[in-house]
Each structure stands twice: as structure tokens, then as C-alpha cells.
Amino acid sequence: MEELILKLKEQIIEVLNLEGMTPEDIDENAPLFGEGLGLDSIDALELIVLMEKNYGIKLQDANQGREIFRSVSCMAEYISKNRKF
């Protein structure tokens, strides 16, 4: 799981253009939206694309997003259980 969390942090930094940030700067348990990384709705769409493109996961229910995108740890846990590749 630690390897997946690190990979996810790297992918998030890349797709969201989080300039100057390193994986160490991201607390995997901190909220992704509102506080923490302070992401917005466009970033949420980019994370949905990230999951589909890199792990073959299609989110069917928008309400699922609230729980999945709560933190990097939550994303990693969901991906590890549902990834297609």
C-alpha cells in the first residue's frame, strides 16, 4: 500500500501541476479538498480521469467521490480494491 500511496502522490503532483511540491509534502491522511491541498472541482475531475486512465476505474456514482477523494490514503485503498490493471 505504501508503494501505491507514493505513486499516487507523484501522479497527483503531475496532473494537478502542484509546482514545487514533492510527495513528502503531501500528508496522505490530510483532506484533499477544502483544507489540506485545497483542491477544487476541476481538480476533482482530473483525479477521476487519473483513476480511469491509470487504474481502469470508472466512477459511476458522483457521491462515491466524497469518500474516495477524502485523502490520498482513501484513494489508495479504493484503487487497491477496484483497480482493473
Partner: protein, 208 residues
């Protein structure tokens, strides 16, 4: 008469404010790297900057120079100030970049898509500076467009107070430039740097 009270030019790895060179980068930097260098030089704290496309970064930085009160401690409180933008290449580069994300694998990028309209530059500036006045974007091959100048002058006269921010901006193929001017209606021509006319704007564009 409508006069230019402040201006900023950003092009060819230089940033100029009211005729003074305030930043110059290594000419070997790519344009995107130059924009980041300007951001750091201005000591801005606005992480959303890094998510913008190059057109928006160009306009945003020029507006910051004029509106932040960084050099003249001006306390800008004109939330009704209109913002106008005249651009040559529109958002063509971002349009092309977005098209690339819609290829065979088909994973279109939402964060690239949101910049596929040139007037989002105006939105970025308005959000950052809490400007609620008119904002209008013109796409013209030539900045020297009489109809556009007439429209802007009419807008300034209608605004309260009589002041506006105008951007002449172009960005394509990894190269960008902008002339940003703060203009206002004045009775005395000595109250401004130069007149807001096609002739004087061309002079500023060609001077730097």
C-alpha cells in the same frame, strides 16, 4: 481625455513597469520557465497560478504588477473597474493542447479544457483582485483596432470611477507578450504617462 496612468510590458524575457526594467531572466529560459521566474520575482503567493495556461499566466502577472500596489503602495479599491483584453492568437495553443488529450486513448483533460477560451484570463484577474466590473475580450489580428479603442474609451467614461485595466496580449507557439495599461479619464494631460490612443499604444509596444 483618456490617459495611461501606469503600464507594464512583459516580453523577450523582460518585465518593464512604467519604462523601468524590473526583471530580466536568462534568455535561454523557455517562455513557461520565464513566467515562473517572474512569479517568484514578484514574490506572489497564489498556487493557482501554476495551474493556469501560459496565456492566463501572462495576463495574470501583468495585471499583478499594475494592481498589487507593489511599487507605489496604491490601495486599489475600485471593485467596479472594467477589464478589457485584446488578443491576437486567442487560446489557440491551449485548444491544440486539449485536442492532443482527445486522441486515440481519449482521456480529455478537464484542467486543460477550462483554458480553451481566451477570456478566462479576465476571470483569473477578476477573481484574484475581486473585480466585479465589465470584462470584455476581443480577438483581433491587429491591436490597432479603432472600434475596440472606441469601445474601451466609452467603457471608461461609463465606469465609476472612470478607470479601466486593458491588456494587449498574445501567446502562441511557446512565446508570449503583453502590454497592460491602467487607463483613466483625466482633464489634465500631465496626469498620465501618455494618451490612450492607437498611436501612443503602438509607441509603447514598439519602445520595449
Amino acid at each position: 481625455m483618456i490617459l495611461v496612468s501606469k503600464y507594464c510590458v512583459m516580453r523577450r524575457h523582460t518585465l518593464i513597469e512604467d519604462g523601468k526594467l524590473i526583471f530580466e531572466s536568462n534568455p535561454d529560459l523557455k517562455y513557461s520557465e520565464f513566467l515562473s521566474a517572474v512569479y517568484r520575482n514578484l514574490q506572489l503567493q497564489y498556487p493557482k497560478f501554476f495551474k493556469m495556461d501560459e496565456l492566463s499566466k501572462t495576463g495574470f502577472l501583468a495585471a499583478e504588477v499594475l494592481l498589487s500596489g507593489r511599487t507605489d503602495n496604491r490601495n486599489l479599491q475600485n471593485e467596479n473597474m472594467p477589464v478589457y483584453m485584446i488578443c491576437r492568437s486567442s487560446s489557440l495553443e491551449t485548444d491544440e493542447n486539449f485536442e492532443l488529450t482527445t486522441g486515440a486513448e481519449y482521456f480529455p483533460s478537464p484542467s486543460v479544457f477550462v483554458y480553451t477560451l481566451p477570456n478566462i484570463v479576465l476571470g483569473e484577474i477578476a477573481i484574484k483582485n475581486k473585480l466585479y466590473g465589465e470584462n470584455t475580450c476581443f480577438v483581433c489580428e491587429d491591436f490597432a483596432n479603432e472600434i475596440v479603442f472606441d469601445y474601451i474609451c466609452q467603457g471608461v467614461r461609463s465606469a465609476c470611477p472612470n478607470e479601466a485595466l486593458v491588456l494587449f496580449i498574445d501567446q502562441y507557439h511557446g512565446v508570449g507578450e503583453v502590454l497592460a495599461v491602467l487607463i483613466s479619464e483625466q482633464r489634465n494631460e500631465n496626469d498620465g504617462i501618455t494618451g490612450f490612443t492607437i498611436e501612443h499604444i503602438n509607441e509603447l509596444l514598439n519602445k520595449h
